[in-house]
């Protein structure tokens, strides 16, 4: 439906038959992306319907934001569907959360904030930050990170090495 620019034009102009074909073509992709977040027992159809509603409401405001020249429609729709599924989970969690389940620290009038060492914002480059996060916070392997960032494994190792050198220099200076 959206490979051809004139089709996309008809879609956001509200052409009924183009919308119907769009729904048939992407309902499976959207359902799969939602299912990945909420699980097979979740309300997949309701959330997928919400995705379609988001796309077309307010005169197709969200769909108009899509630009076929910048990204593929399947990639973009997957992100939109995941976002809708996370919103749904968050709403359900908030609705179900009782006062008893709220941790005491959240209810404290003066919560105790641990003292945190300050670092300058630009200490590490964004890619160094991301690779450290994936290695140490997510505990991902070098090969997985390389796949995720579409770079080779050597680049991951090298970036990690340079990041550690910077951190050692910074914290060594300040200790």
């Amino acid at each position: 439906v959206t490979e051809h620019i004139e089709d996309f034009g008809r879609l956001i102009a509200g052409d009924k038959s183009t919308w119907d074909r769009f729904v048939v073509r992407f309902a499976g992709l959207i359902s799969a992306a939602v299912r990945r977040v909420v699980g097979p027992e979740g309300e997949v159809d309701d959330i997928a319907q919400d995705v379609f509603l988001r796309l077309c409401r307010d005169d197709f405001r969200l769909l108009r934001q899509f630009d076929p020249a910048r990204a593929g429609i399947t990639t973009w729709l997957t992100i939109i569907a995941r976002s809708a599924a996370h919103d749904s989970l968050r709403r359900r969690r908030l609705a179900q959360q009782t006062l008893d389940e709220t941790p005491e620290s959240a209810l404290a009038i003066d919560p105790v904030i641990p003292e945190i060492v300050k670092i300058p914002p630009g200490l590490l480059s964004p890619r160094q930050q991301l690779i450290l996060t994936m290695l140490y916070d997510r505990e991902m392997e070098v090969a997985e990170i390389a796949d995720a960032l579409a770079v080779d494994a050597q680049t991951v190792r090298s970036t990690h090495h340079k990041a550690l050198l910077k951190l050692r220099a910074h914290f060594g200076k300040n200790d």
Partner: protein, 175 residues
């Protein structure tokens, strides 16, 4: 050039992660920018901004990692297709290919085809049925009366005349 040694330093990385959590969160990229990043379509500066956000936002990183997995699709339910298609309906007087109207959420598609109560066509149909019933009942009544008269002809004597001129009755009595 030889690979740099890959020595993990969890303690140092944890120190940085804790400190980085206190930094102001970078702007979250929109879905289209994240999709463009995932497809490798951003320039270095734009990609660095997305990577900074990915390092700081676990949900965003999850979204990217999902996009890196093989695309999934499921067979959507017929109910989802029907309800999603019904979100965009034909506007009044539109004969196709024109502007569409957004219908309320979860409206049944069959409801659109049902004519509204009070429409001219419905009233005309009911009027025709009522007129037909009147013609049939009048014809039936007349036919019944004719049959009754054929089997039960009215008496030859005109009793009314006797009542107006009682002399005739008196004559009978005398005979």
């Amino acid at each position: 050039m030889a690979d740099p040694p890959f020595d993990r330093d969890p303690a140092l990385a944890r120190r940085w992660l804790d400190a980085a959590a206190a930094l102001p969160a970078p702007d979250t990229p929109d879905a289209l920018t994240l999709a463009a990043y995932a497809e490798g379509r951003l320039d270095d500066a734009a990609a660095a901004a997305v990577e900074a956000a990915l390092a700081a936002d676990p949900a965003l990183l999850d979204a990217l990692l999902t996009l890196r997995q093989p695309a999934e699709t499921t067979i959507p339910s017929a109910a989802l297709i029907q309800s999603a298609q019904a979100l965009v309906g034909m506007a009044a007087g539109d004969s196709g290919g024109g502007q569409a109207a957004i219908l309320p959420f979860r409206r049944n598609a069959t409801d659109q085809r049902r004519p509204a109560i009070g429409s001219t066509r419905r009233w005309l149909a009911w009027g025709a049925v009522a007129a037909g019933l009147m013609i049939v009942s009048t014809a039936g009544f007349n036919l019944g009366m004719s049959t009754a008269e054929a089997f039960n002809p009215p008496a030859a004597t005109d009793l009314t005349g006797d009542l107006l001129d009682p002399s005739g009755l008196a004559g009978d009595d005398s005979g």
